[in-house]
């Protein structure tokens, strides 16, 4: 029997059915109501600086080619030939003059236009190639170098969609005079989990830290999260968590990267990060200069792990499988050796070999098993911690609360509920 969405999430999202994670029908609605109607992160402009540069991406399960065109514009097309459907590019990234389907060598420009059909000269009728390009993603926009695409031609502009979440994201981006850079290709790995739990984990759930990660995170680091931590929701589905350090806190306790091993291991990197923090107030203002970031989420499936500087996307592969992508982020103007050391803050702790993330992966796969067991449908998952305790804040946009308040997840599921009910057959 199909789940009714009104029964999967209750009206204040304090109870979430196990079916939200495991029912194939729910997943089909997610594809339509969420992945067909949201802005989805594709790539960062630093990955494709030159004409002809391209990277692969996904929008849900749909493979996308993101390329820099000859005139410098950014083009996102579905990687599937209009003749027989094969991918026209198999490489993860590179620089191409054109994309050629292996089956009959139909040839496309990097912008996605069909340029040549080799068989055409052997037949009499001519084909109107202008109507047969790769299927373009109807909306592509960038913000701060972050490229997003949407399958919904009517979607609101990206700036508006991100809204006040930009204020929180800029607290990181704007610290760096010459911006940030994505280091090479993302790590990609497959987990037997539902795509929403990795997302929820970064959206605001920093409170699993002291428990799931007790083997690695020291108690004093956790105390800081409890005492100084904030969870903020500017729009349902987005979320930001950070510590707001006291005004008299020593610079070393505030600066990004000082928690990681990178600055402990290299005095030069330490000094470099210190200088960035010394300029923080003039660049991002007094409040945001004191923000010591934890994790963020951007609806529906993009996360930012400020503490270890990674952007992550949770690509669904069905209700019980996720292809997780994780990019390392470094200041664009850092010397190469610093970039190498800084990326270690990400790769040692997160990604498929990460000291911390291997515990998360375990939790996410075990949760999916729990979501599939029988005779427990009358025990939906409890999402009620801190109900109604979030409030506006003088200095911080959105609704704000302590990190233990699960309102970030309730808000995500209320937006999720609306999005799925809008496409559900009655």
């Amino acid at each position: 029997m199909r789940s009714r969405i009104a029964d999967v999430v209750n009206t204040d999202a304090t109870l979430i059915s196990r079916k939200a994670w495991s029912d194939p029908h729910v997943y089909a609605l997610e594809k339509k109501g969420i992945f067909g109607k949201s802005w989805l992160f594709l790539a960062h402009e630093s990955q494709i600086p030159n004409p002809g540069d391209f990277v692969q991406a996904y929008m849900c399960e749909t493979p996308i080619l993101v390329a820099r065109g000859k005139a410098g514009g950014i083009h996102a097309n579905i990687n599937s030939c209009v003749h027989r459907g094969l991918p026209v590019c198999r490489a993860d990234h590179g620089n191409a003059k054109s994309f050629v389907c292996p089956y009959h060598s139909w040839n496309y420009s990097v912008e996605g236009k069909l340029q040549a059909i080799p068989q055409e000269r052997h037949v009499e009728g001519k084909v109107d190639k202008s109507k047969l390009g790769l299927k373009a993603v109807p909306r592509v926009e960038s913000w701060n170098g972050m490229i997003f695409g949407s399958f919904d031609p009517e979607i609101e502009p990206l700036d508006q969609y991100l809204g006040d979440q930009r204020w929180y994201l800029d607290a990181f981006f704007e610290r760096f005079e010459n911006g940030i850079e994505f280091v090479g290709s993302p790590q990609r790995w497959v987990l037997n989990a539902n795509w929403k739990l990795p997302m929820e984990n970064q959206l605001g759930d920093v409170n699993h830290g002291p428990f799931l990660h007790a083997a690695v995170i020291p108690p004093e680091a956790n105390a800081e999260v409890f005492d100084l931590g904030f969870s903020c929701v500017t729009e349902p589905g987005h979320g930001a968590t950070f510590r707001l350090m006291p005004e008299d806190a020593p610079l070393e306790s505030v600066a990004w990267g000082f928690e990681g091993m990178a600055s402990l291991l290299s005095p030069d990197v330490h000094e470099y990060l210190r200088e960035i923090q010394m300029r923080a107030e003039e660049r991002v203002g007094p409040i945001r200069a004191r923000m010591k970031g934890l994790t963020y989420g951007v609806y529906p499936n993009l996360s930012f792990l400020w503490s270890n500087t990674a952007f992550k996307v949770s690509h669904p592969r069905g209700p019980g499988k996720v292809e997780y992508w994780s990019w390392s982020v470094v200041p664009a103007d850092a010397p190469d050796e610093f970039k190498r050391i800084l990326r270690g803050n990400h790769t040692a702790f997160f990604g498929p070999g990460g000291l911390l993330e291997q515990e998360d992966s375990e939790a996410w796969t075990q949760q999916f098993l729990g979501s599939n067991i029988d005779f427990a449908d009358d025990r939906p998952y409890f999402y009620g911690l801190g109900l109604g305790e979030e409030k506006p804040h003088d200095d911080l946009p959105g609704l704000v609360s302590v990190t233990a308040n699960e309102f970030y997840a309730r808000n995500f599921f209320l937006r999720w509920r609306d999005a799925l009910m809008a496409v559900e057959e009655r």
Partner: protein
């Protein structure tokens, strides 16, 4: 170091014994003893392995499909799976003996066969060795997995040393996985 370095029976034997001992320690979960095989300056790298665009200009050449082209993040040139120094490895060993390292509670049962051990060259105290491994990984409640790869190591001999007393100063693990579908790459390969 040349491709056709001629090893000696004694050196080959010493190196092979080192690898067999290392495999026994790792599969026996004796990570603290394994850590003693690592030099303080060790660099432990697992490069990413991508699918680069084939360069038409290289057609007909072995270089067109070389393994090297697929490796990412060996230096500052992209993102590796791992790039770690001794403190990171120490943290991993410390974690292994804590009850709340949940992804290894219960721990995986591993067995690795290390073969094709080839001394690629000797430069002063540094011995370059290439080897291959097959690793069987089985953890209660999880899928059973198979890992394969190549190690590119540098072993260093101390100035005054007893036979077999070699320290690992560099390890680069070339993983032969197409898609990463194994539950973890956090193990010592």
């Amino acid at each position: 170091m040349s491709e056709d370095y001629q090893t000696t029976l004694e050196l080959q034997h010493e190196i092979e014994q080192w690898y067999y001992r290392e495999a026994r320690l790792l599969d026996g979960r004796e990570y603290k003893k394994w850590l003693e095989l690592c030099a303080p300056e060790i660099r432990y790298i697992v490069p990413g392995r991508g699918n680069p665009l084939v360069d038409n200009a290289r057609r007909g050449e072995e270089d067109m499909i070389s393994v090297e082209r697929e490796l990412e993040g060996r230096d500052s040139d992209g993102l590796p799976i791992r790039d770690e120094s001794l403190p990171y490895l120490m943290l991993r060993v410390e974690r292994a003996y804590k009850p709340n390292s949940w992804s290894e509670n219960p721990p995986a049962r591993t067995r690795r066969i290390v073969g094709n051990i080839e001394v690629m060259g000797v430069e002063g105290p540094a011995i370059s060795v290439t080897s291959a491994f097959h690793l069987h990984w089985a953890r209660p409640g999880s899928a059973t997995c198979f890992y394969a790869g190549q190690r590119r190591d540098v072993l260093q001999r101390a100035e005054e040393t007893v036979p077999g007393d070699l320290k690992l100063t560099r390890r680069e693990v070339v993983l032969d996985l197409a898609n990463i579908e194994v539950p973890t790459l956090g193990l010592f390969l």
